[in-house]
């Protein structure tokens, strides 16, 4: 199997057949063996029925039904677990992506890239509700991670299967999956893709996304950049507060020596709190080492290694 196309669906009963037609149409022009994995994230409408109908008609269609609505990341993950292709393409189930872009994306992978991202040149979405949040989010992603992602929200993406399977997927990590990959040295490229306006149903995402992107980015960045720093990055803040502790202590002694009778409670308290902060951070840093050592996912193992010469 060359290619697995994974598409998560949630309440998209009308989109499912047109999308299937579009994919079949696009793939018939290409010379790949493929499977189409439709993940039903426990929709409330007839999505599952329509998908299963397709599976009955076409042996290349596989339908994965989830027990309850877990969200897009889980949907994709469940799809990946069932994918057997050497390459994986993901897409949204709302017909906004165009499967005819798959050919170009696969071309890029064959050129040696690990990931190829779509980049919606002419977006067909509301300016304020969708475009602005997405602009901010992309800017954040670029600046925090240093990876030049043009359109982190674009769902049409293609990966080498082995690149995906190294990574844990949880929470809303699917958005950042290419970025995580790129952070560990996977080569990636972006091509402009077509984008259509929504035909059926409602959009399910909105402004609340940015907050989540920020939080996810902070944790991701910390986890990825801290494993080789002293005390997992806590060391720096511990040293700073340690220095402040020393300064305030010295200052307090100085005041006590020179002006007997001067109220010392506040000064002493401040210095004690800074001392506590410094020590606790050191302890937490040690705890991080313990966790990391006993955990079974090592970040350095994820780094892409290139064997130059055997």
């Amino acid at each position: 199997m060359d290619l697995s196309i994974v598409i998560p669906f949630y309440n998209e009963e009308d989109s499912i057949r047109p999308l299937y037609d579009a994919v079949t149409d696009a793939m018939s022009k290409l010379d790949y063996s493929y499977e189409l994995i439709l993940v039903d994230d426990s929709s409330k409408d007839n999505t599952l029925k329509n998908a299963v109908d397709l599976a009955k008609e076409d042996e290349r269609v596989k339908v994965v039904k989830l027990k309850k609505n877990y969200g897009q990341t889980t949907g994709l993950h469940a799809g990946f677990q069932n994918a057997i292709g050497k390459y994986i393409v993901t897409m949204d189930g709302d017909l906004q992506n165009d499967p005819s872009d798959i050919g170009d994306m696969m071309e890029k992978l064959h050129e040696g890239n690990d990931i190829c991202l779509g980049w919606r040149v002419q977006r067909q979405d509301g300016a304020f509700t969708r475009l602005l949040p997405s602009k901010i989010a992309n800017w954040l992603v670029r600046n925090v991670t240093g990876i030049p992602v043009k359109d982190n929200g674009c769902a049409i993406r293609s990966y080498k299967a082995e690149t995906i399977n190294k990574f844990p997927m949880y929470s809303e990590m699917h958005r950042l999956l290419p970025v995580i990959n790129a952070l560990t040295g996977a080569s990636f490229t972006q091509i402009p893709v077509k984008h259509h306006a929504r035909q059926f149903g409602e959009s399910k995402y909105g402004l609340s996304r940015i907050y989540k992107v920020i939080i996810d980015l902070i944790s991701l960045k910390t986890v990825f950049s801290s494993f080789n720093k002293p005390l997992f990055g806590f060391g720096t803040i511990a040293v700073i507060s340690g220095i402040l502790f020393l300064l305030t202590s010295i200052g307090t002694s100085f005041v006590w020596w020179n002006n007997p009778g001067y109220p010392l409670v506040v000064l002493l308290g401040t210095s004690a709190l800074l001392g506590i902060l410094s020590f606790t951070l050191v302890f937490l840093g040690i705890l991080c080492h313990l966790i990391y050592k006993s955990g079974n996912l090592k970040i350095e193992k994820m780094y892409k290694l290139k064997t130059i010469r055997k």
């Binding site: 010379d31 790949y32 063996s33 493929y34 426990s42 998908a51 299963v52 599976a55 009955k56 042996e59 290349r60 269609v61 596989k62 339908v63 994965v64 039904k65 989830l66 027990k67 309850k68 877990y70 889980t74 993950h77 469940a78 677990q81 069932n82 844990p168 997927m169 949880y170 929470s171 989540k212 939080i215 902070i218 944790s219 910390t222 986890v223 997992f232 806590f234 803040i237 109220p263 010392l264 409670v265 506040v266 000064l267 308290g269 401040t270 709190l273 800074l274 506590i276 902060l277 606790t280 951070l281 937490l284 705890l287 991080c288 966790i291 990391y292 955990g295 079974n296 996912l297 090592k298």
Partner: protein
């Protein structure tokens, strides 16, 4: 010798709790388990040191070949006992039965029948015959769960539950948290149904528990809330609260600083300075703990099983001539 069982009943005897006379209770369970027309076994778990219970169950077991007895070395708590009992069961369905007359035993067949189309069925004692005070307590407890976790169960203390084997295969229970099993099942995506069952007339309680047990319950609820809501994103909980506290502390600090600079109000004898610094320190620590949590999740993310694939539909063509893809 080895038989395939459809239904495994687990009866747990807790060292800490009361139990009713064993023989009549087991007899009534057996009569009603017979009515389900399923091939069943009974697994007894003795949680702790209860020699007289062990003797009596041994004597029951002598006449029946479908009884297993498991004795734990010391008191481990109800969920651990359940886990130990579960590992010894062979049935496709599991039913847990209390060691005291909590529910009329003739409700067993009804409970098992309702499993059709669900993954777990709980007996909801209704109408409750407990005293007013106990009713109020459990109402309050259930209300808290509804408010914090967002789902409603009416009777989490009911030990009268039947569920599919896969439910416990996918949920690890430990300690003394048996009553939260339905919540975990619901959270993972299993269909949990409560059906009204008759409460047994001797299951009447009118008492207040010792203060300690209320405190324990409250703490359990907090950790449950955290585990259910933020398991995969500890930083969303610790980080946000840390950020809020930190901002508050900094604002107080800034205000005091401005006062000091422009109005010349001395800081040295104002305890509020300490409050400001305390909040800042606490905020930083809270955020740091969130990051530690994030590291734990990240390094274990591959082992966390938090979703269930209900079914995979694939219909391979019978004849190979139709294979289009090449």
């Amino acid at each position: 010798m080895s038989k395939v069982y459809d239904l495994s009943a687990i009866v747990i005897y807790y060292q800490k709790y009361e139990y009713d006379e064993i023989k009549p209770l087991i007899e009534s369970y057996k009569t009603n388990l017979d009515k389900t027309n399923l091939n069943y076994e009974i697994v007894f778990v003795i949680d702790g040191n209860m020699p007289e219970v062990l003797e009596e169950i041994k004597s029951i077991a002598q006449n029946n070949d479908n009884i297993k007895i498991i004795k734990l070395g010391r008191w481990f708590g109800d969920a651990t006992s359940l886990q130990a009992g579960f590992e010894a069961t062979e049935g496709k369905l599991i039913i847990t039965l209390p060691s005291f007359q909590q529910v009329e035993a003739d409700e067993i067949p009804k409970l098992v029948e309702n499993l059709e189309g669900n993954d777990m069925v709980i007996g909801w004692r209704w109408p409750r015959i407990d005293g007013f005070l106990n009713n109020l307590q459990s109402k309050f407890f259930n209300y808290l769960i509804k408010a914090f976790i967002g789902t409603k169960f009416h009777d989490l203390k009911s030990n009268f539950r039947v569920f599919k084997r896969e439910v416990l295969d996918n949920i690890y229970m430990y300690g003394d948290q048996d009553r939260f099993l339905p919540l975990w099942a619901w959270r993972l995506g299993y269909k949990v149904k409560e059906i009204k069952v008759k409460q047994h007339k001797t299951d009447f309680r009118q008492k207040l528990y010792p203060v300690k047990s209320y405190v324990t319950r409250g703490l359990e609820l907090i950790s449950l809330f955290f585990l259910i809501k933020f398991t995969k994103k500890p930083i969303r909980f610790f980080g946000s609260s840390g950020l809020i506290i930190f901002t508050l502390g900094s604002m107080i600090g800034l205000f005091l600083f401005i006062q000091r600079i422009f109005w010349d109000i001395p800081l040295a004898d104002r305890p509020i300075v300490l409050v400001s610094i305390l909040l800042i320190v606490f905020g930083i620590l809270s955020f740091a703990i969130g990051l530690v949590g994030e590291l734990i999740i990240f390094t274990h993310a591959k082992d966390i099983k938090d979703y269930i694939i209900e079914d995979v539909y694939q219909y391979p063509k019978k004849d190979d001539s139709n294979k289009k893809a090449s």
